[in-house]
Structures are given as structure tokens and as C-alpha cells.
Assembly symmetry: C2
Homo-oligomer: 325 residues x 2
């Protein structure tokens, strides 16, 4: 099977989405941005052996790729619209492609993306890049800058679970671990759940936002730097899942601070909007937890029971630094 | 140097382009599509060892990546606007990054792109994906479909030069070859010159279009299939450069038909628009040559001095097929 046949067979049943004038199968896609909306774009790459193990099921790769990319749109309070895919593969393996494209199109459909184009190339290992396109009412996109002293810091969901899920894949889980808890952590690792609806519902109340892809300390650090402020985090308030606490009680708090790949939102809101935000999240049945506040003094402090446990701004997880330096 | 420092140092001096509300350095870029315009997007990937030799100069890679991606916009008659980059590298090699990012930003600037975002990841080999975003007046994008029987087939520039340039890199050029001719062919291989201005000036006259990335036979084949028509090509009319004819007189015509990576335009225009199109190209000093015509009967015929030399529709060059089948 050649490249063109491959595209036709696996990626042409692309959804006809809103605003898609011309989709897969021409030199480019032609798209219509509605009046009063701005376009939000982000690109994300997964590399075999770096971001995933070589034998990872293709459906899981597709779900992780689309979910992680969509999380960047949630962090801007944008609504998913279109997705393009750059796929490098050692060979055109039909069962792999069928499983991958099926899961990709399904996940795109669930999150609101139309697949509108892509490029398939042969290469010695699997590399996947997804470019996502979202829409946001003009001038209403969230940014990393904009946090003000006194803002409360909120995080969605629970933190550290994805890191816990990875741990169960790398090392045998504790003998007493419940299978349901193991499955729950792995699901968080494999299948990011971007907080798109929460972001859209909170759009008008938030001063600054980022999604948690590299760990709360590092990502909040980016937000603080962009906003030229500091923060005090309450370690005791970090939202931890029962599954993570059961399996990894010693590591849970550290992973919540620096585990990476949570794909939850970190938001800063003025105090007078706090209860409204919490109510909105409750109505959606999505945990939203106040974990600290923005300070005028720069730097990131982590306190536990009133005592500072971490006083400097640590650097976040970093693709190049992590293994080479 | 870590990922964030790398982005800051080499990719943050990104141009502030028209319509860029938020560029590099947030979770996504926020972009403004002007009223009355549609968005055209395309993604292209270059893989080390597949699309380029491991020791290729980084500036040449950048020029090839941006030029080839922009050619897809030319094929839709769109104007370049924004570019995002997914960059996978074995390590953060500073001289490499400095040369690559310098050439990338320069070429983006020349062609009219603002670099608005990207993702840098570590991986065992270099993989580059560029997603280009262009703008076109609503409803005026060219497509592969739309060719009508009787349309004249036009190609821009000269064909086969890029294939000739690659040949000079893979094998010693003929001993009598002039250095200037060798340099000229290599330049065509390394530095695609997308026909953006020609496309914009011919926008209203063209029935169907495609850019020549995989070779005229294959790419015209896609256009014919999308338009449900056939074509008769005149082999004697194929535009060949003096350099290609001097170095590779035996192969020149075959490479013009099936060489790949020319990044010229192939257009079909109704006969009554032919002379106007040729005049427009002449005013821009861009060669534009009539090489055949569209037929109602499907299939692609190549004729030379009135005799058919190739009667079936050949399949085009294909990433997966080329080496595995």
C-alpha cells in the first residue's frame, strides 16, 4: 500500500466539520473562521522511545496525541475546530493504521475536531505531530500573563495520576494495589481528558491560565514569569486521587507538584470570582481546587502547615535538559 | 541548554506579523483571519535519512522546509501568513540551532510568514514538520478538481532540475560539467522557490491547480483524478533548463516527467485565458509553458512528435511504495 492509498483508506473518512470548505485530499485544507472569532493554534509531537514505548497500542497513541494537543486549546479557553496530522512510520502496517486512524477519528469526533489534512512519511521510527486549531471569541483567549497579586490559584481534577500510571508500567505496582486503582492511573496516563468545557464556562472569570503538561511547579513558573508575579502554594491542598494515595502514598505529593502530563488546568482568579468558579465546576462535576495565591513578590514558595518547604523557583521538566544535562 | 531556553534564544525573535494577536511563548498562538478571507493550512515533514542526508547544512534544511510547505499555499493561490514548527532533535546543538533558526526566520520573512509557535522535542534523529497557514479571498482557493476538457495545461519554471541537483550530490557530476550549472541545479534542490506571486496574479483565470512535489506525471494524475478528466502531454514541450540539458541530456526529459521536488505549479486554464496567463507570467519574468491539454477521455497520454510514448496513467512517486514495494 502506498502513501496515497493509505491516506484514502484510513484518513479520508474525515468528518466534514463546521467551517471545512475543503478537507483532506487537496494540497491544503480551506477553512472558514466565523466572524467575531479568533483562531488559536498549537502543535504537539510524540516521539517513539521518548514519549511512548515502542509497543504502545496505536489507539492509545492516538488518544494521547489528540487529548494532549486539545489541552493547549483548553488552556486558551478555545473551542476545538480542526486538526492536521504529520505521521512518520517505518512501514505502512495495516492493522496498526486501522487501529490508529479509527481511534484518532473517534477521539477527534468526541472532542469536536474535524481532521482536515496531514502528511504521511516513511522514517526509521514513529513520530506523530498534531496541529490543533481552535476558535475563541475575539479578545477572549486566556494567556499566561495577566495574573495579579491576591488572585487565587485553582487547579482542575487531581494531580500526579499520570505519573503514577507511568510508574505502574515501568515497575511492578505494589502487591496490595487494587486492579481498579492501577487501571485508573493508567487511564490518566494514556487518555488525557482536556478540560475544554470547564475552560469555556469559566472564560470570563480568569486572569491567567496554563495547562499542566510538565508539572505544576514548572508550568505555574511559566505563568508567574509571564505575569511578573510570584505565588505561594499550599502543599496540603493539592488534589490527590484515592488511587494515587493508595498506590504511592510516599510519592503522591511530589508527583502532584512535578509529575508531568496531568493535562489539567491551572488558573488564577480574583478572590471575588472564586465562589462562582467553584460553583461552575461543581455543576459540571469536575473537581476544582484552590491551592494557593498569587503574590506581588516574585518567586514560588511551597508551604505545608504554615512552614516553607520549598523556597526557590525550580525549573520545570524539560525535554532536552532531562537526559543530557 | 533546556527546551525553554532554546525556544527563547532561537525562536522567540519571531516576527510580529499581520494578524498575530499572541505569538510564540504561550500555550497556543492567537491569530486573526481578516473578514472576507478563508484560511488555508498544510503540513509537511522532513525526516533525516529519508528526505535529507544527515550532514545537510541546517540553513538548507530550513529553506527547503519552508519553501516546500509554502508551495502548497501557492497551489491553492493563497498568501502566506503564519507558520508553526515541530522540531525533533538528538540534542540541543547550539551552532546547528543558530544556523537553522536564523535561516528559518529569514526565509519566513522573505515569503511572508510570521513564526507563531512550535514544539521542540528530543529524539534519536532529526524530524522537522512545518504547518503553514495562508489566506485567500473567500471562495477563491484553487483546487485539484475543476479541470475541463479543452483546458490547456501550463507549468511554471523548468522541470527536473531538483532531481538533477540531487544526482550531483549522490554521484560525481559529468567531468565536462560547468560549476555554475552544477550550482544552479543544487540550488533548485536545496531552495524551493514557491510560485506565490504568480499564483496570486493568475488566481481568477485557473480551473484547477496542483504543485509539483512528486513529479509531473504523478501530480497531474491527482489533478486528473480529482477532476474526472484525462490529459495529453507533449513531451517535446517540457521546459528544461540549459543546466539540466548540459549535465544530463539523456535523463532530462524523464526527470522533467517524474523527477519530484520541482515545487513548480501545474495549472489548467480555458483556451481563451491562455494568452492572458502567459502575458502575466512574462511580466513577472517567470517561465510559464503550455505542455498539453485536458481531454474528456480519462487517462494520461504522453506524446512526442505526434506518437504516443506512454499510454497508461503511471502512479506517482510514493513515500511508502518507493522503498518497500
Amino acid at each position: 500500500m502506498g502513501e496515497f492509498e493509505l491516506i484514502r483508506r484510513y484518513f479520508m473518512p474525515a468528518q466534514v466539520g463546521a467551517g471545512v470548505v475543503t478537507g483532506v485530499g487537496d494540497d491544503g485544507a480551506v477553512l472558514e473562521v466565523p466572524p467575531g472569532q479568533q483562531l488559536v493554534v498549537s502543535i504537539d509531537t510524540l516521539v517513539e522511545g521518548v514519549h511512548f514505548l515502542p509497543d504502545t497500542a496505536p489507539a492509545r497513541l492516538a488518544e494521547r496525541l489528540v487529548g494532549a494537543a486539545a489541552s493547549d486549546l483548553a488552556a486558551m479557553a478555545a473551542t476545538p475546530a480542526w486538526l492536521t496530522l504529520a505521521l512518520t512510520l517505518p512501514q505502512a502496517d495495516e492493522p496498526w493504521l486501522e487501529a490508529f486512524s479509527g481511534a484518532l477519528l473517534r477521539r477527534c469526533d468526541e472532542l469536536g475536531f474535524a481532521l482536515v489534512g496531514g502528511d504521511t512519511t516513511r522514517g526509521p521510527l514513529c513520530v506523530l505531530s498534531a496541529q490543533v486549531h481552535g476558535l475563541v471569541p475575539s479578545g477572549r483567549a486566556w494567556r499566561r500573563r495577566g495574573a495579579l497579586a491576591g488572585d487565587r490559584i485553582l487547579v482542575s481534577g487531581t494531580l500526579g495520576d499520570s505519573r503514577g500510571g507511568l510508574e505502574t508500567l515501568l515497575h511492578p505496582p505494589p502487591p496490595a494495589a487494587e486492579p481498579a486503582a492501577i487501571a485508573q492511573l493508567r487511564q490518566r496516563f494514556y487518555r488525557p481528558e482536556p478540560r475544554l468545557e470547564l475552560a469555556q464556562r469559566l472564560r470570563e472569570h480568569v486572569h491567567a491560565a496554563i495547562d499542566l503538561s510538565d508539572g505544576l511547579l514548572g508550568d505555574l513558573g511559566h505563568l508567574l514569569e509571564a505575569s511578573a508575579v510570584g505565588a505561594r502554594l499550599q502543599a496540603d491542598r493539592l488534589p490527590l486521587s484515592p488511587a494515587l494515595q493508595q498506590l504511592y502514598p510516599q510519592q503522591a505529593q511530589a508527583w502532584a507538584l512535578a509529575g508531568g502530563e496531568d493535562f489539567e488546568l491551572c488558573l488564577t482568579v480574583p478572590p471575588e470570582r472564586l465562589s462562582r468558579c467553584l460553583d461552575t465546576a461543581r455543576a459540571l462535576a469536575i473537581p476544582l481546587t484552590e491551592v494557593g495565591e498569587i503574590t506581588a513578590a516574585t518567586g514560588l514558595q511551597v508551604v505545608r502547615a504554615g512552614a516553607t518547604v520549598l523556597g526557590a523557583l525550580p525549573s520545570s521538566w524539560d525535554h532536552f535538559r532531562s537526559k543530557n544535562e
